[in-house]
Symmetry: D2
Subunit: 374 residues, 4 copies
C-alpha cells in the first residue's frame, strides 16, 4: 500500500489541513501517515497534537526538536535536528508524496529532507506574500515542491512568475478557509462552544462586546509591534478580551513578558490554545480582532469581523475588505478600535472556494497514480 505523509509543525497547520486529512481518509488504498514535529508537540504551545487525537487521527511519528533557547541560533538548530529525524522517518516509510502547508520556519525541515530523498512534495498556500522572513521560507518551500495548491489567482500568477511550471499550480482555494466557513458559529457568543474549559472561566455574555488579540513576533524586526502599547490600548476600553500567546519564535519572549504584566487584569483571558472550532466561534462574534496574524487576514472575512492589523508582519498579504492597517501606537490603536467597534463588513472572502480539499486530494491521488474517489 502506498504511503502519503503529512507533516505538521504547529496547531495552525492542523487547522489548515483538517479538511484535507478527512478527504485522505476516504482512500482506503492509500495510507495517510501523520508526522508531527516542533511546537505542535509542546505543552507550552498548546499541545496541538491533542486536537488530532481528539479528532481520531493516528499520529505515526513524533519528532521532538525544539531547543529551549529563545534565539535565532536555536531556531536554526531546531531545523537541523528536524531534518536529521525527518530523513530517518522518510527512509522508513518511503512515502509516495509529502503534503505540507504554509510558510513557517520549522516546515523547511521536512521539505528539505523529502527533497533530498526525491520524495515529491505537495505544498499548500504557496505564492502568497506577507511581510517578513515568511516570504523567504514560503518561496524556499515552493522550490522544493512538485505540486502547488494555491488559494488565490494572484498567488497562482506569482508562482508562475517565479518560474514554477503552470501545469503544477492549482488554484483550488484555501482549505482552512473552506473549513472555517462551514463551521456553525451560532447567533451569538456562547462559552460552551469554545470546545474546552479554561483555567479561568470565560464569563462573556451573549451580545457582550469583546476583543481578540493575537500578536506574534516579527522575526526580522522586533520593534514592529510594541505589545505593551497594544495591551494598554485594549485594556483602556475595559471590555473583555482574549489575549493569545505568540508562536514559538526567536524573540517571542518580549511579547510573553508584556502579557505577563496583565496577569491580574480581570478583563483579559490569556489563552495558550483554543480548539479551532472554539477560536472560530469566538472570532465570529468578537467586536474586533487586533492582530498581526494571518488568521485575521484570511479567515475573519468569512464572518465580516473588523480586523485591525498592526505593523508590517502581514504587509504584503492579499487582503479582504475587513482589514484596517495601522501602526502599534496607543493613540492610533485606540481611535481605530473606537471607529470599528460596532461595525460589521459583508461576509466575503477571496480565499474561499468550495470543494477545495476534495480537489486537492483528488489531484494528489492522480499524481501518485491512484484512482480518484467520486
Amino acid at each position: 500500500m502506498k504511503n502519503i505523509c503529512v507533516a505538521l509543525t504547529n496547531r495552525t497547520n492542523y487547522s489548515k489541513l483538517k479538511m484535507v486529512l478527512r478527504e485522505l481518509r476516504k482512500y482506503s488504498n492509500v495510507k495517510c501517515r501523520i508526522v508531527l514535529s516542533s511546537t505542535i508537540l509542546l505543552e507550552r504551545y498548546g499541545s496541538g497534537y491533542e486536537d488530532l487525537q481528539r479528532d481520531g487521527f493516528e499520529i505515526d511519528k513524533r519528532i521532538d526538536c525544539v531547543l529551549m533557547n529563545d534565539s535565532h541560533e536555536a531556531m536554526a538548530k531546531t531545523i537541523g535536528l528536524s531534518v536529521v529525524e525527518h530523513a530517518t522517518y522518510f527512509g522508513w516509510r518511503q512515502p509516495e508524496m509529502l503534503i505540507i502547508v504554509g510558510d513557517r520556519f520549522d516546515m523547511v525541515a521536512p521539505a528539505i529532507a523529502a527533497s533530498m530523498m526525491n520524495i515529491p512534495i505537495a505544498h499548500i498556500q504557496g505564492g502568497e506574500l506577507s511581510g517578513t522572513i515568511d516570504n523567504v521560507i514560503r518561496n524556499v518551500i515552493t522550490r522544493f515542491a512538485s505540486l502547488h495548491f494555491v488559494a488565490t489567482e494572484t498567488s497562482a500568477r506569482n508562482l508562475i512568475g517565479y518560474g514554477v511550471s503552470q501545469n503544477s499550480v492549482f488554484d483550488y482555494g484555501c482549505p482552512a478557509v473552506e473549513y472555517v466557513s462551514q463551521i456553525d458559529v451560532g447567533d451569538h457568543f456562547d462559552n460552551k462552544r469554545l470546545g474546552k474549559e479554561f483555567k479561568r472561566e470565560i464569563d462573556i455574555r451573549a451580545g457582550e462586546k469583546y476583543f481578540m488579540v493575537m500578536i506574534h513576533p516579527d522575526t526580522t524586526n522586533q520593534l514592529d509591534v510594541n505589545m505593551d502599547e497594544v495591551l494598554k490600548a485594549v485594556a483602556s476600553f475595559e471590555l473583555k478580551a482574549f489575549i493569545f500567546y505568540p508562536n514559538v519564535d526567536a524573540h517571542n519572549s518580549a511579547i510573553v513578558s508584556s502579557i505577563a504584566k496583565y496577569i491580574n487584569n480581570d478583563n483579559f483571558y490569556m489563552i495558550r490554545h483554543m480548539p479551532l472550532e472554539g477560536f472560530v466561534h469566538a472570532m465570529a462574534h468578537c467586536s474586533c480582532m487586533i492582530s498581526n496574524s494571518s488568521s485575521g487576514i484570511r479567515e475573519a472575512a468569512s464572518f465580516g469581523v473588523p480586523v485591525i492589523n498592526i505593523g508590517y508582519r502581514q504587509a504584503d498579504r492579499e487582503r479582504n475588505k475587513n482589514v484596517i492597517d495601522i501602526g502599534h501606537r496607543y493613540e492610533e490603536l485606540r481611535s481605530t478600535v473606537e471607529d470599528y467597534l460596532d461595525y460589521r463588513f459583508e461576509k466575503e472572502n477571496i480565499y474561499f472556494k468550495s470543494s477545495c480539499s476534495n480537489q486537492i486530494v483528488a489531484k494528489i491521488m492522480q499524481f501518485i497514480g491512484e484512482e480518484v474517489c467520486q
Copy 2:
C-alpha cells in the same frame, strides 16, 4: 572588527572563490573567516582543505558532517547535521555577511543557518540552469540570499524573473572563469605543471593526445550516464586518459565501481584530486573532454577545448560553442570523439568578465558599510 564568513563544502567551491578570497585579504579592517564542511574535509574526496592551506588561507572552522552511507537519506542527514553546526559557528562569529557559491546540496546547510539567524548572504552563480536537482538547490539558495553575483546576462534575467529585486543582482561574470583564464598554461602538456605527484607517474609526452573524463552521478536519474559505456569507448582509442572520481552524492557508487574495473588499464590515470592549476593545465591541452561536469561547460571554452557533454545533467546550462551534447552509448560516444579529436574552437567564453572578483568584493564591502579598496 567585522567578520565575513565564507563557507566552502567541496574542492570546486574553493576553485570558484579563490580570487574572491584573495580580494578579501586586501581589506585589513574586515576579517575573512573560512568555514569548511562536507567533502572538502575528506581524504576520499581529495582533501580539498589542503589546497587552502597550501595557498596560505587560514581555516577558521571545520565541520565534519558527511555520513558514510551512499543513500539519499544520508545526504539529508548530512544537511541536518551541518545546519546544527553552522548555527553554532555563526552564533560564535556573528558575521556581517556569509559568502557562498554554487548549487550543491551541502551548501544549503550554511544558507539555512545564516538565513534563520538574519545573517545576509551573498550568493555567487545564482540564476543559472542545469539539468537536475541542482536547479532546485540553486534556487533555494537564491531565496535565502540578499546579494546575487551572477555570471551572465541570462542568469541576471532569470533571477529578476523569479521575483528577485533588480537592485540586488550584479552581473560581474564568473570568478572561477576569471581565475582560470589568467593561469599560464604554457604551450603544451607538461606533467610538472600538474602541481602534484600522483601515485602512478603521469607519462604523457608534450603533444601526445589524451582525454579528460569527468562524470558525476545524476541524483535524479541514475541511468542518465552509463559509466561502463563511457570508459569502454574511451579505452577503445588506446590513448591516455585522466579519469576523475565523482563527487560525493547518493549513488556515486555505480560510477566508482565502473572506474574500479579499469584499475589495471595502463592508459588510465584515476584521479581523486588534482590541484586546480594542474587541472586547468591538463584541460587546456587535452584532445577533448568527456564530461557531464560544469567545468566542461564553463571553463573549458577559455582554451577552445572540445567538450563532449553526456546526458542531461547539464541540459539547461548556458553553453559556449565548444560543447557537443550526446547520450551515453558506446557508438555515439566513439564517433563523436573521432569527429572532434583534432579540432580546436576559438577561445571565447560567455562566463568571463574582467575584474569580476574585485567588483564582487567591493560590492560586499559597500553592503556591510565598509570603505572600498582602490
Copy 3:
C-alpha cells in the same frame, strides 16, 4: 601552547571549579579553554555564564543544546546533540586534558566526546554516593576519566573498589567547599551581600529568622518529594524564606508548578539564580535549610547550619553532623523544623581540605608534562 579544556554545564559546576580556574590562570604556558553547554547558557536557569564573565573568565565556546520539552526523551536528545558539538569543539582545540566535575546528566556529553577522542579526563568529585541516577552518571563519568580528584577518603576507597587504579585517585578535598569556607560571610544577614538586586527586594533584617528551600526533582522517583507539602509547611511558620527554582530535568515542572502557587506569598522570595557568594552568605545565616540538594549536605556544615534533608535524593551521600533526614510530609517537616530552628552545629566539614585546588591543578600539570607553579 597546550590547551586544557574545562567543561561547565550549569551554574553549580562553575561554583565548584571557580578555585580550580583561578589556579589554572597562574600557568602562563598553558591555555585554559572554557566550554559551556546546557543550562549554564539559559536565562531560564539563571544565565550562569554571566558569573564567569563577571569574574573575568573568557568563554571559549558556547554549545546550546537543551531541548524545550520537559521529558526524558528530550534529556537524552540534549546529550546526543551535546556530544556532536563537543566532538567538533575538541577536534578544533585538541586539548591535552579535559577537566569536568560532578554527576549531572549533561556532563556525560563532554566526557563521551573526549573519551572517544583519546583526550584524558580529570574528574572532580568521583566516588561519592547519592540516591538517584546521579550515581549512574557519576560512575559512568569515572569510567571515562584518567585522573580522579575525590573529596573524602571514603570516596577514594569506593573508586579503588570499582577497579580504578589507586595511582590515579587523589584525595585532595572538595574545591567547592574550599571556596565556600574562605568566603567572608560577616556576622549577620545583610541583603547587600547577596551580590545582586532581585526583582522583589529582600527585606530580611539582621538577626531575623529565615529559611532556605532548595528542592530538585528526583528523576528516578517523582514522588520522592512533594513540593506542595514542603511549601505548605514552610509557609506555616510565617517566616521569610528563599525558595529556589529546581535544576533543569525531566519532571521539574511539578516543582515549578508548586512554587507558582505561592507567587503571592509575601514571605517567599522565589529565586532563579543567586550569585555564589550571596548564596553562601544567605546559607550561613539562615535558621535552617530545607533541601534535597547536595549543597545542603556538603557546604552548609562549614557554617554549622542545620540542614533538613528531604527524601532519598541524597540518601547515600556522606553526611556531616548537621544533616537531619526526614520524609516530605507536612507534619514531620513542621516538627523537625521546630526542633532545629534555633540550633547551631559545630563548624566542621569532612569535605574540606586546605590547598585543594592548588594541588589538583599541580597534579594535572604534572600529568600533561608541564612544570608546576610554586
Copy 4:
C-alpha cells in the same frame, strides 16, 4: 503488549544475540523490537542487516548514523547522532527493557538514551576484560544496566567488585559460544558450507591447510599491530588464507591499506563479510587463526583450533588453552605459526554453558513481570 527492544550495531552483535532472539520469539505476549544502527547497516561492513532478514527477523527501525571520516572526532559524532535517534525511537516504542551486548563504542548510544529515559537495560558480556578502550566502554555500559548476564565466574566477580549488586548478575555463559558450539561443522572444510558465494571462488580442498586472519585496529595504540608484517608472514607460507576486513573504527584505514597491497595475491581471499555459520565452519577447520579479535579468544576453543593472538588488544581477556600470545613481528609470527600449524587442542571452552539463552530470556521475562515459557 509489552515491548522489548534489542539494539544491534554490528554483524558480531547479531551473532551473539541470535540464540537470544530465537528464545524471545517464543513469547507471544511480548513483542521483540529490533533496532539497528551503525555499521550493521552499511554495505562497506558486510550489510549485516541482511543476515537478520535471511533468518526471518523483522527490523523495527534503522538508524543510519556513521560518519564517513576515519577519525576519533567522527566516532564521537556518530555516537551523538545515534543517541538523538535512539531517544526518538525509544520515545515511540516505550519498551519495558532494552537488551544490548558487548563493548563496542557505538553501543554506548542506545545505552545512554535508554538510561536517560529510565528504560531498564539487560547487558550481556559485562565484567570481561580486554586490552583497550573496550574496557572503558564495557564498564560504562555496565553502569547503565540493570541486569548483567556474564559469561564466566571471573566476569561475575569483576562486576560485583565494581559495586554492581550481586542480585543483578547472572553467570549463564556466553550465548554466542552456545550458538557456535551447536553448529554442525562437518568433518572437513567444504566451501558450500560458507553460506555465501564470494566474488572470487574459495577453492580450498577438503583437508587443505589454510589460515584465518582477522585483525582490528587498536584504537588506543595504532602501533599495536603492524598488518604489513602480519600479511607478509602469512603470505610466506604460500598457503591459502581468509583475510578479513577490520571493524569500522578510527584508524582502520592503515589495516585496509595493508590488505589492499595483497589484492593480487592468489592465496588470499579478502572477506568483508561471511555469514556466521560459514565463518564458524571455516574457523573449525583452519590450520590456525591469526587474530586480535575476540572470536579467536572466545569461540575458537570449542573446536580446538590454535589461535595466535597478536598484540595487546585482547591482553586482559580470559583465555582458553588454545591461545598463544605474541607480538606482531614477522619472524616471531612465522616461527609461532610453524609450531602450531599441525596442532589441535582439546575442545574445551570456559565461555560455554548449556541453556544459556533460554535462561537469559527467562530472567528478563521475570524482570518485566511476564510468565516464563517452559
